[in-house]
């Protein structure tokens, strides 16, 4: 191993090409992963932020907010039967006119009405006001501005910023339920809801009721299956396009990892061929094939680790430089760590292709005596 590390430190030039190529692949892997996370977050952030043991939709809604209707009696039954805290929830997707922008330059918003504050969102603001997702900054929105929402141009004043609360790719605007209902009824008369009726319910804090994992089934049971009750993660999976996005991106990420593995395999296979004479000498003086192979793996892991570190810093800086809302990029520590683990696995896997070659190096070649 010492020998391998010394070669790395004393002949870094030999590994520059591989490091550069692997850095590009590592950057691609992390960037694509960040894009996937960003896209998923922009579709699911509002639902993911719900601190709910169960999200309740009407039976025929197929867990869609826009199709769901929950009558007041449902809420009463859950509260009385399960002792849970229940809050109404609803959303309407609209375009918002921003002061100073052109008449066709509308910002896409998801206007939410809520009673129980999601993670990162303060208690409901006053009537006609909203906490807005900070990605609206990229549309020129500022605190204190009045946005005109939907074809009815319902006015909503932005009173503060929240983060990661987009839904279906549209920036969250968090209002009290009356404001949301006004916006909904004025702009989507086909989907209008009367007072006390919500699209969904957030069920939480049933300290005397069932455990979190059992809450959805408990809700469906007490309501004789008149509703669909889902955990937050189940509700996320029901959002249209999420699973398809994840599948597509994961396939691209998988191909990138495989290409990385092939690059590492080719590079270290070439290096092994180039070092055949040296390995022959080392074997002649008593080196085991395993010692030589471990040296190769160490070099691959170090080169890949350096490439991954450079890529990690690069995508983190990129994430900081890109203004919110311009590109759905979300770089997290877990994404970088996952990418590093995948790359290191590819490095070890790539080296495995050189194992046979290392095993076949004949110590007799050092004496010029292979026959």
């Amino acid at each position: 191993m010492k020998l391998a590390l010394r070669e790395l430190t004393r002949r870094p030039g030999r590994f520059v090409t591989a490091t550069v190529i692997l850095t590009l692949f590592a950057t691609l892997l992390m960037f694509l992963g960040g894009l996937l996370d960003g896209l998923i977050r922009s579709s699911t952030g509002a639902v993911e932020a719900q601190q709910a043991q169960a999200l309740v939709f009407s039976e025929s809604s197929r867990a869609s907010f826009l199709r769901s209707r929950i009558e007041p009696d449902v809420r009463t039954i859950i509260e009385s039967e399960l002792g849970a805290e229940v809050g109404g929830l609803g959303v309407v997707l609209l375009g918002a006119r921003v002061p100073g922008n052109g008449p066709r330059d509308v910002a896409n918003v998801a206007v939410w009405g809520y009673e129980l504050a999601p993670d990162g969102v303060p208690e409901p603001p006053g009537p006609g006001e909203a906490w807005a997702d900070e990605i609206l900054r990229s549309d020129g929105v500022e605190i204190g501005q009045e946005l005109l929402v939907g074809p009815a141009r319902t006015p909503i004043i932005v009173v503060g910023w929240v983060k990661d609360t987009s839904y279906n790719g549209q920036a969250g605007m968090w209002t009290d339920v009356n404001t949301w209902r006004e916006v909904l009824n004025a702009n989507r008369p086909d989907a209008a809801l009367s007072e006390g009726v919500f699209q969904a319910l957030v069920v939480r804090d049933a300290s005397t009721g069932p455990a979190t994992a059992d809450m959805p089934s408990a809700v469906e049971r007490v309501l004789d299956d008149r509703v669909i009750a889902l955990s937050v993660s189940e509700a996320i999976d029901e959002i249209p396009g999420v699973t398809e996005q994840q599948t597509t991106f994961n396939q691209i990420l998988g191909v990138t990892v495989v290409i990385t593995l092939v690059v590492i395999a080719l590079f270290f296979a070439l290096l092994t061929v180039e070092r055949t004479a040296m390995y022959g000498v080392l074997k002649a003086i008593g080196a085991r094939s395993s010692t030589i192979f471990i040296g190769l793996v160490v070099q691959a892991v170090v080169v890949t680790g350096v490439a991954a570190a450079i890529a990690g810093v690069a995508v983190t800086v990129l994430d900081l430089l890109i203004p919110p809302g311009s590109i759905p990029l979300s770089i997290s520590a877990s994404r970088i760590i996952t990418s590093v683990v995948l790359l290191l696995t590819a490095a070890v896997g790539g080296c495995a292709f050189s194992l046979r070659r290392v095993l076949r190096v004949d110590p007799a070649s050092a004496l010029g005596g292979t026959q």
Binding site: I285, G286, R288, A366
Partner: protein, 225 residues
């Protein structure tokens, strides 16, 4: 009586080449005393390298008995032969073959790193060997910064690092000019005799033989004293 460094008895080595048998070594008999230096002389393809490889545990004989320093290695598998090479024999190769990114001192220590892993005693032995070989001031130089003669001296030091019973020299002066070659051979003789270590020097240069205790000729795989 001191045990011989090498005793080869009725050794045969047969290669299969294209479905045909090629006899590289035929009923070889050779004994090298504990501090004896033997010149093994023969033309190309005569079996010199095969004999050395078998004596050094790099190749296994097809038949016969090979005993090095009292240890019979004829029946050893590859793992045992690797251990044997780590501890019992030293090699000096024709094309020097030092590890190019290691200093002279590290090239000696690589023997320890690949085998015994003694640590400090090995480092002390490497320093002592470099001193004896006149390479004190070159211990931190890379092979590329050394002359041909100096490289060969480093290779000799590497061969002696594991305190072997037998050192095998494969044409050690072929890459050197006459004067430096003679100096290296004189050094080899002095080092072997000082340690009481046996050596086989493969060569086809008659001038080398004067530095050896006796000469053994080999032609077509057959040894003739």
């Amino acid at each position: 009586m001191t045990e011989p460094a090498l005793h080869i008895s009725d050794v045969r080595k047969i290669y299969q080449v294209g479905g045909e048998e090629v006899v590289a070594l035929d009923h070889a008999e050779l004994t090298v005393a504990a501090d004896e230096i033997v010149a093994l002389v023969g033309p190309s393809g005569s079996g010199k390298t095969t004999l050395c490889s078998i004596a050094g545990g790099i190749l296994s004989a097809t038949a016969g008995t090979v005993v090095v320093g009292g240890e019979e290695i004829s029946h050893y598998g590859s793992r045992q032969l690797t251990e044997f090479r780590q501890n019992q024999v030293g090699f000096v190769f024709q094309t020097v073959n030092l590890v190019p990114f290691l200093t002279a001192r590290e090239n000696l220590l690589v023997v320890d790193e690949m085998g015994r892993r003694e640590g400090r005693p090995a480092r002390e032995r490497a320093d002592r060997l470099l001193g004896e070989l006149g390479l004190d001031d070159r211990s931190k130089n890379l092979p590329g910064q050394l002359s041909g003669g100096q490289k060969q001296r480093v290779a000799i030091g590497r061969a002696l690092m594991n305190e072997p019973n037998l050192v095998l020299f494969d044409e050690p002066t072929s890459a050197l000019d006459t004067e430096v070659g003679a100096q290296v051979m004189a050094l080899i003789r002095a080092e072997m005799k000082a340690r009481g270590t046996a050596a086989i020097v493969v060569t086809h240069d008659d001038r080398i033989t004067e530095f050896c205790d006796r000469t053994v000729n080999i032609i077509d795989g057959v040894l003739a004293a």
